[in-house]
Amino acid sequence: MIKVIAKRLLGALPNLVGVIVITFLLTRALPGDPAAYFAGGAATKEAIEQVRVQLGLDKPMIEQFFLYVRDLATGNLGISLTTGQPVAQELIARLPASIEMVVLALLLACAVALPLGVLAATRPGSWIDQLCRLVTTAGVSLPTFFTGLVLAYVFYFLLGWAPSPLGRLDPMWSPPPTITGLYLIDAAIAGDPGLWWAAFRQLILPVITMALFVLAPIARMTRASMLAVLGSDFIRTARASGLAPTTVLVKYALRNALLPVVTTLGMVFGFMLGSSVVIEKVFGWPGVGSYAIDALTASDYAPIQGFVLAMGVLFVLLNLVIDLLYTLIDPRVSLEG
């Protein structure tokens, strides 16, 4: 078991190195003089030279790369031009907002997609199977910025059910004291149900928008792998032995069918991290995605580089966690190792 886990950890290393190399190359590929980009539009010649020395851009490429890696190891991602703050610090401050949204969206998507996929697989050709087919095809066709705006129009402007789709909290409320940075948890710790409810209401629309987008791959995979498992011999045997239908379905079929679904979660996370940028822009959500967009508009390169790197590293780590999870829930994997 430990051997398998160690193997997975080692397997993630090349990807991590790859992510670092690519983010390094991306900034060095800036057309013209990278130092001028990092110094900003209004910089004088001296300021540009200063940045050049500071970033080590006057040194050979290989040396630059090792300087970059050394900076990363010490948590130094550079300074944002627009705010004057260290990029790493700002990313960490904004990360909880994005995480809160992504995790809730994933939970919601799974809560809808798993039953839908299972029901569609147990009743092929029925209306629920058709519904599943429609949802999976429509879901991947939805531009998240469009669904977000439609939801905001319907539930805020027309029905008035949702709060103004701007930010994590209505300006009436002040945020809870920061412990985890996740408002729902912090508000619960602070013991303030009103605040909790206010934070929750703000989350509803962005979370539904994102969940609608990632529902499709989860439902599609659940249906396909349930169909495959339900057609296998051991299910026939279990049924023939007179086990209760729910036992067969949940204990025998679902547990086996979930394995491929867990593997697709990696891909789903990739979609979510990407679409969170767009959704954060739509809902004025102060997460890492809108931080990157602000930096893009201001041609502020250090935050963009930091953002791409952080997302890449986060994604590699998430995939590693999924791999480990897979090892834990599939007894066959530990036998092989």
Binding site: P14, N15, L16, G18, V19, V21, I22, T23, L26, T27, A29, L30, P31, T137, A138, V140, S141, L142, P143, T144, F145, F146, L149, V150, A152, Y153, Y156, F157, S164, P165, L166, R220, R223, A224, F269, G270, F271, M272, L273, G274, S275, V277, V278, K281, V282, A292, I293, L296, T297, Y301, I304, Q305, F307, V308, M311, G312, F315, V316, N319
Partner: protein, 281 residues
């Protein structure tokens, strides 16, 4: 051949939606080709007296904050959006197939290098990587195409590499080599036709995604610049009016974008059923 036709007819008759998708696809192509000549208004002409008007007989999709006709802008945008998606997919098709074939056929160092690069691309959330590429290379339409092509590359490399790997020892390849064909000719003439069906399926599945991706990038302000009409930008321009109830500014371009992606995804599913019945889900 007759069997193939029968199979195609079977796939089409089993799912009538495919016919609708094919019709929509034809419509989009026609609009992309001759749309700019058909639209009732100049997509860039502003008219302050007719700003933010709801849909009417004169302006089917209404007008935006500058009084520009949204119907005309949405129609004209079709060419640019489809153009970006098609060139990006073609670029990753050509490059990915060539790299994947070389990796699978030659093996060794080539294989390690190409597979590693493709794995590294996949190690990023792809939309984020596209953002980084466009931000680094410069904010132009050409770079949107390039970024979209790069993030699609691994899918083609995988398809081509897998097929080339399986077939490189096959009898017909040995025969071709004995008849005096060089490596390049074997790859192009003997292996390439074999990977065409799975690669075509990938193309059709990628198209919708490429449109979404390009529109998403311009929605957050990358690539295409206003006032050029493009679906992502049109939606972004209307976003601020949603909370005050002027829904049509964003709604129509967004709905057309969604319809285009939906069309391509439905067609992709149908093509996959035709080319590769085993992968149906």
């Amino acid at each position: 051949m007759n069997d193939t036709l029968k199979h195609i007819r079977h796939v089409l008759s089993e799912n009538p939606v495919t016919m609708v998708a094919a019709a929509l696809f034809a419509l989009f192509i026609v609009i992309a080709l001759i749309g700019p000549a058909l639209v009732p208004y100049d997509p860039l002409a502003s008219n302050a007296t007719a700003a933010l008007q709801p849909p009417s007989a004169a302006h089917w999709f209404g007008t935006d904050a500058l009084g520009r006709d949204i119907f005309s802008r949405t129609m004209v945008a079709t060419r640019l959006d489809l153009g970006i998606a098609i060139s990006a997919v073609l670029l990753s098709f050509a490059l990915g197939i060539a790299l994947g074939l070389a990796a699978g056929f030659f093996g060794g160092w080539w294989d390690t290098l190409i597979t590693r690069t493709s794995d590294t691309i996949m190690a990023f959330p792809l939309f984020v990587l596209a953002m980084g590429i466009v931000a680094a290379l410069g904010n132009t339409v050409g770079n949107i195409v390039l970024a979209t092509a790069i993030i699609n590359l691994p899918f083609y490399i995988r398809v081509a590499r897998a097929e080339a790997n399986v077939r490189r020892g096959a009898g017909f390849i040995e025969a071709a080599r004995l008849s005096g064909n060089g490596d390049v000719r074997i790859l192009a003439v003997h292996l390439f036709p074999n990977i065409l069906p799975p690669a075509m399926v990938q193309v059709s599945l990628n198209m919708g995604w490429a449109i979404l991706n390009a529109a998403g990038l311009s929605f957050i302000g990358l690539g295409v610049r206003p006032p050029t009409p493009e679906w992502g930008i049109l939606v972004a321009e209307g976003a601020q009016f949603i909370v005050s109830g002027e829904w049509w500014v964003s709604f129509f371009p967004g709905a057309v974008l969604m319809l285009a992606v939906f069309t391509f995804n439905l067609l992709g599913d149908a093509l996959r059923d035709i080319f590769d019945p085993r992968r149906r889900t």
